[in-house]
């Protein structure tokens, strides 16, 4: 079935080669990082995690979001997701690969990676994150590939796959909960030390991931003439809106707790992020841009009249992805480190090599996604399901 990825038109190959070039160029910078160490990044003693871990966090959400299709399709038998669910499952695979990639490039001693397996440490949340992420990767490969293969052979989906799909539903929640636990269990990092972190992570995941899925699916509809179904997209858009409302609501809860309680430790990261502190204001513009994008996306996506308009929908979703990405892929990780444990400020900005290495990881994910979607769409078309 995989051989379907080997037959494509010129545009397909141009895209694949473009991604390979990006991976190649990024690899040069990664080799440089391997030789010189993480000193080539903008990270520091005070901001010891940066762009890589932030992207990891964002992409865990994107991976988890497949459940917004898997749950209705397998559990509630929502048939209209038939052509979209395989795209969701395969996107989850690519997203988890991106997550693992960002973890690896962030390590100071990547060749010792397997120490996590050799010396299993259940008291470390990172150990559990390794388990849930790899488990989720495996579950999506098994469920997605098995069902597609059954369709390819013109057979019904095997019955044993249902319980596995149900397991993947629970598992999806676990990956983002555990990822939130990485942060919310640390004493002395005020911006992260909050019980609603996991809920906020899930809410942001369940709007941003499906939004990316719809945007990509609409691109595929144009370039590959594969229609996931108008109704499916509209239903998913509805799910996205509710998740985004919850996401914004949870964030406002944080703002209330910090500022009504008046506790300085809780306020400082937010003050730094939104108005700057002691002249340090690297993220202020970004955070207000996030707020604008977030509000604008809700204005566009809440009224059904706008949401069901296909071009407005895309604009709303792009704004939503921008808002959630700035929140989680930029502000969240850095905000946890500023101010530092001495209430002093060391700012952070990714360096050129850091961004190029990130491009390498994202391009790898896109390549995996391209190949998997190519296979899925070819099979769906061949069997007359699309």
């Amino acid at each position: 079935m995989l051989e379907k990825a080997l037959y494509g038109d010129k545009k397909y190959w141009a895209w694949v080669i473009f991604l390979l070039v990006l991976i190649g160029v990024g690899s040069v910078f990664y080799i440089m990082q391997l030789v010189k160490g993480l000193t080539v990044t903008g990270m520091s003693r005070d901001v010891s995690w940066g762009f890589y871990i932030a992207q990891f966090t964002y992409m865990v959400g994107v991976a988890a979001s497949a459940v917004m299709l898997v749950l209705p399709f397998y559990f509630h038998d929502v048939k209209k997701f038939e052509n979209l669910v395989i795209l969701g499952e395969f996107m989850a695979i690519a997203a988890v690969i991106v997550c693992l990639g960002f973890i690896v490039v962030d390590l100071g001693q990547p060749q010792r990676l397997f120490n996590v397996v050799l010396h299993p440490t259940p008291n470390s949340i990172l150990f559990w994150d390794m388990i849930v992420l790899n488990g989720y990767l495996l579950l999506n490969i098994v469920v997605g590939w098995t069902n597609l293969h059954a369709e390819y052979k013109r057979l019904p989906h095997p019955s044993w796959i249902k319980p596995v799909a149900y397991l993947s539903i629970v598992w999806a929640f676990s990956i983002h909960t555990v990822t939130a636990f990485l942060y919310q269990g640390l004493p002395g990092r005020h911006y992260w030390l909050t019980a609603i972190m996991a809920a906020r992570f899930l809410a942001s995941a369940f709007c941003s991931g499906p939004a990316i899925l719809i945007i990509l699916a609409l691109i595929v509809k144009k370039v590959a003439k594969y229609d996931p179904g108008k109704e499916a997209i509209q239903t998913l858009a509805k799910i996205i809106v509710y998740a985004m409302i919850a996401n914004v609501f949870f964030f406002l809860l944080e703002v209330f707790t910090a500022f009504y309680s008046g506790i300085p430790g809780h306020q400082h990261p937010m003050i730094y992020l939104f108005s700057g502190m002691h002249g340090a204001n690297a993220l202020v513009g970004w955070m207000w841009l996030m707020s604008l994008c977030g509000i604008a996306s809700l204005v566009i996506l809440i009224p059904p009249r706008f949401r069901n308009h296909s071009e407005l929908l895309v604009i709303g979703l792009v704004l939503l992805v921008a808002a959630t990405w700035i929140d989680k892929g930029l502000g969240l990780v850095v905000g946890g480190f500023i101010p530092n444990p001495f209430e002093a400020i060391t700012e952070y900005g990714p360096t050129g090599p850091e961004l190029m290495i990130s491009v390498m990881v994202y391009a790898t994910g896109l390549l995996v996604l391209t190949v998997l979607w190519k296979v899925a769409i070819a099979v769906k078309k061949e069997t007359g399901r699309a």
Partner: protein
């Protein structure tokens, strides 16, 4: 025919995956198994059930008093000097900062002048309930039976989770190879490679030889005490009994074992 070859390939693939996943780590484990070796302690070694430190800030009167402690520690532990290319990526085992930074949760705008402008000697608190040990995914950071939180530089994967976990900013990461920035290497202590985290180790290697920690030795007379907090007759306990002492960020439940007399 085709089907047979396909089945064979499937099995071969599974077998290869199992081989790669299962047997390689097993051989690695067999080759390097320090946990199975029994360690015998030196007869002269200083021992305790809970090591602790008291710093009497009243005895530190000049800049040089601090410098001597920092120099003693950093030279014996091959800590790269401050000539590192990026200052924000520097490595520190022991350093100084003002009261408001050392004790941010108990800052007071009308602090006694002698405290307000004074530097405090800061180092790893060797917490009794250490968050860094809790979060480390490989046990590269671990707590010894005598309470000391130690690092295995050879096991650390450099994920820096411990740095996020430490609420005292006591940990440093080797962003680059530190060796070129160590002026005079002490051959008795390992130099680190790039990509691992490090911090104060309460001089475990000196305790082994019956010596007090380097900073304690270099401190002004009566400025630093080091001993067993579990022993009511130890000197640290006597000093703590006779003086009012404070610790950094006790509200976090880490139970720091470094005490300050102000």
């Amino acid at each position: 025919m085709d089907n047979k070859r396909r089945t064979f390939l499937k099995f071969a693939g599974v077998a290869a995956a199992l081989g790669a996943g299962g047997s390689v780590p097993l051989t690695l484990r067999a080759a390097y198994a320090p946990e199975q070796e029994q360690y015998k302690q030196d007869r002269d070694a200083l021992t305790a059930t809970r090591w602790g430190m008291v710093i009497d800030m009243r005895k530190f009167t000049s800049e040089e008093d601090f410098e001597r402690c920092i120099e003693a520690c950093h030279s014996v532990h091959n800590v790269p000097d401050q000539q590192l290319p990026k200052q924000k990526q520097k490595v520190m085992w022991i350093w100084t900062d003002h009261y408001e930074h050392a004790f941010p949760s108990s800052h007071n705008p009308y602090l006694a002048e002698r405290v307000e402008h004074k530097d405090f000697l800061l180092l790893c608190n060797q917490c009794d309930n250490p968050p860094c040990v809790r979060v480390c995914p490989t046990k590269a950071t671990f707590q010894r039976e005598d309470g000391i939180v130690q690092m295995d530089f050879h096991r650390c994967i450099g994920c820096r989770y411990c740095m996020a976990g430490c609420p005292y900013g006591s940990r440093s990461f080797n962003f680059c190879d530190p060796a070129p920035y160590v002026q005079e290497k002490n051959a008795d202590f390992p130099t680190r490679m790039r990509g691992v985290v490090e911090k104060c180790n309460f001089c475990v290697e000196r305790l082994e030889e019956g010596l007090q920690p380097a900073c304690v030795e270099a401190a002004p007379e009566g400025g630093m005490f080091f001993g067993d907090l579990d022993d009511p007759n130890s000197e640290v306990r006597r000093v703590l009994r006779e003086n009012f002492s404070i610790r950094r960020k006790v509200e976090l439940g880490t139970n720091p074992c470094v005490f300050y007399i102000v």
